[in-house]
């Protein structure tokens, strides 16, 4: 049955990338190291009373995740370009949208790994109780990951063949994910403030809309990106 | 008042510069195209001998 075959292909593609990452460790070490360096630098700079720190930490966390995550996103296609795997993937008899979804899932996993390391690091270095309300934080992180991964996967495939690809990816990604960074930072600030605020759901809705729009856009546009 | 005039002046300069570039560039291209068309229409004997690269 076609659906079952698609799911199997999807699973195989995801497994291939995750296995390669765990064995060859292309992107994750660099990403984690950059993330930790950023957390350290930012934490040393915000020498403020706890209440003020609580208000700023959300934005700093999401910026660190963005910059470190861009490293992993960039590597997700760069490696395939360099080893000639790109052409092989193009010939693989599977819908390009499945290729996109597979890469997107792998990038979501990478971002999750990054968060598992960075959030505790922030808690330790700044004393801000980021996980005081784990439910909403998990929701924000999950939606934020889907948003970054969707648009990041599409753009990293697009820039993989260009000159100065790392720089181009960050330059293109930054303005486009402004709504995500704003929404995630504000939602985190509201969660940390401890109130049950209807404004929180407004931001969560924005993240959800972004995630849906860019997952669909990515799946549709990926075939044009894969054309080379 | 100065801010108002300065703002409009900057806008006019920017748009004017871009428009001027367009007009001059298009003019040059049209002239070049006309040159190329006359060159191509000449019979082979009339053209200077050229080495094939």
């Amino acid at each position: 049955m076609r659906a079952r075959e698609s799911v199997r292909s999807l699973w195989w593609l995801i497994q291939k990338d995750l296995t390669r990452e765990l064995r060859a460790q292309n992107a994750w070490p660099g990403m984690l190291l950059l993330g930790l360096v950023l957390v350290f630098l930012l934490a040393t700079q915000i020498n403020l009373p706890l209440e003020q720190k609580t208000r700023t930490v959300g934005g700093l966390l999401w910026l660190s995740i963005f910059f470190a995550g861009t490293l992993a996103l960039e590597r997700s296609f760069a490696n395939e370009r360099d080893t000639g795997c790109w052409q092989a993937l193009n010939l693989y008899p599977v819908d390009s949208s499945l290729l996109f979804l597979a890469k997107m899932v792998v990038n979501i996993v990478s971002l999750a790994v990054l968060e598992i390391v960075l959030i505790p690091a922030f808690i330790v270095l700044t004393d801000v109780p980021l996980l005081a309300r784990p439910g909403p934080m998990l929701l924000i992180a999950a939606l934020g990951n889907i948003c970054f991964a969707s648009i990041g996967t599409l753009l990293s495939a697009l820039t993989a063949g260009l000159r100065f690809r790392g720089g181009m990816l960050a330059l293109l990604l930054l303005p486009l994910v402004t709504p995500v960074v704003l929404a995630a930072a504000e939602a985190t600030r509201i969660v940390l403030a401890g109130e049950v605020d209807p404004e929180l759901w407004q931001w969560v809705r924005l993240l959800a809309v972004f995630a849906v729009v860019f997952t669909i856009a990515g799946a549709l546009l990926f075939e044009f990106v894969m054309e080379e | 008042m100065e801010t108002l005039l300065a703002t409009y002046a900057i806008a006019a300069l920017a748009v004017g510069a871009y428009a001027a570039r367009l007009v001059i560039g298009t003019g040059r291209l049209s002239r070049r195209l006309r040159q190329l068309h006359t060159q191509v229409d000449r019979k082979p004997e009339q053209l200077p001998a050229k080495r094939i690269a």
């Binding site: 648009i151 599409l154 753009l155 697009l158 820039t159 260009l162 000159r163 100065f164 181009m168 330059l171 293109l172 303005p175 486009l176 402004t178 709504p179 704003l182 929404a183 504000e186 407004q202 931001w203 924005l206 972004f210 729009v213 856009a217 546009l221 044009f224 990106v225 054309e227 080379e228 | 801010t3 108002l4 300065a6 703002t7 409009y8 900057i10 806008a11 920017a14 748009v15 871009y18 428009a19 367009l22 007009v23 298009t26 291209l29 049209s30 070049r32 195209l33 006309r34 190329l36 068309h37 060159q39 191509v40 229409d41 082979p44 053209l47 200077p48 001998a49 050229k50 080495r51 094939i52």
Partner: protein
């Protein structure tokens, strides 16, 4: 061979240019002499007519870029990419002017050259998007690859702009309210928007024409250099 196609269009182009120039001149006269002076800000408030016009054009150019990009992806005719390229350049110009006029306004209204006010913030994001797209386009040599990459970026940009506008508005807790405007001011604003839109649309048409001529010139160069020493090859044999 036919005469060069360039001369056919120039009369229409000049006439259209004259119409656009008249429109812009009319709106400038209205902005400076007919629009009433605002009570709180004085004459400086007249910046708003230019600011709203270029801001609207910046957004419209992004939408145009997205549509032309989509048409290129569907039809694969390079002419659609010429429109997209022209729209991206003029759009960047509009975005730059939006930032300049917005900053001037902020300085007069609030005493600071920059503020994280939703309109300024989203204009900055739009400007960076345009700059990024232009940079990426300029780094690609192959015209069809450039068209494809440009089209995907433009479509993503168009999808993103509403989200950016929403996010920046909510960030500052500002909800859109139509400002109270004197009917005479509204008229002048309408005329400004129409005339500046016509101006920027005209610039886009001119730029597209230039890109088309540039491609024709490149093709003619290759056939001319062949004809001077060899039997002339057809275009399909050259490419």
């Amino acid at each position: 061979m036919n005469g060069p196609p360039v001369d056919r269009c120039s009369h229409v182009t000049i006439a259209a240019g004259a119409v656009v120039a008249c429109l812009v001149l009319t709106s400038l006269l209205m902005i400076f002499f007919i629009a009433p002076t605002e009570s709180t800000m004085g004459d400086v408030q007249r910046i708003v007519y230019l600011h709203v016009s270029v801001a609207w054009c910046g957004l419209a150019a992004m939408v145009a870029m997205g549509c032309c990009g989509a048409m290129y992806l569907l039809r694969r005719r390079i002419e659609w990419d010429f429109w997209s390229q022209a729209a991206s350049e003029v759009g960047w110009l509009c975005a730059t002017l939006t930032l300049i006029t917005g900053s001037a306004w902020a300085h007069e209204a609030w005493g600071t050259w920059w503020t994280w006010e939703p309109r300024l913030t989203s204009s900055l994001v739009l400007w960076i998007m345009y700059a990024g797209i232009l940079l990426v386009r300029s780094s690609i040599e192959d015209p069809h690859r450039r068209g494809r990459v440009g089209a995907v970026l433009a479509i993503i940009g168009v999808a993103d702009v509403p989200l950016v506008l929403m996010a920046t508005r909510w960030f500052r807790g500002v909800h859109p309210i139509a400002p109270e405007m004197d009917p005479q001011m509204r008229l002048v604003l309408l005329v400004s928007v129409v005339s500046f839109t016509a101006l920027f649309a005209y610039l886009i048409v001119l730029r597209r024409r230039q890109l088309e001529l540039s491609e024709l010139a490149a093709e003619s160069e290759s056939s001319a250099s062949c004809a001077s020493g060899m039997p002339r090859l057809s275009h399909s044999q050259l490419t």
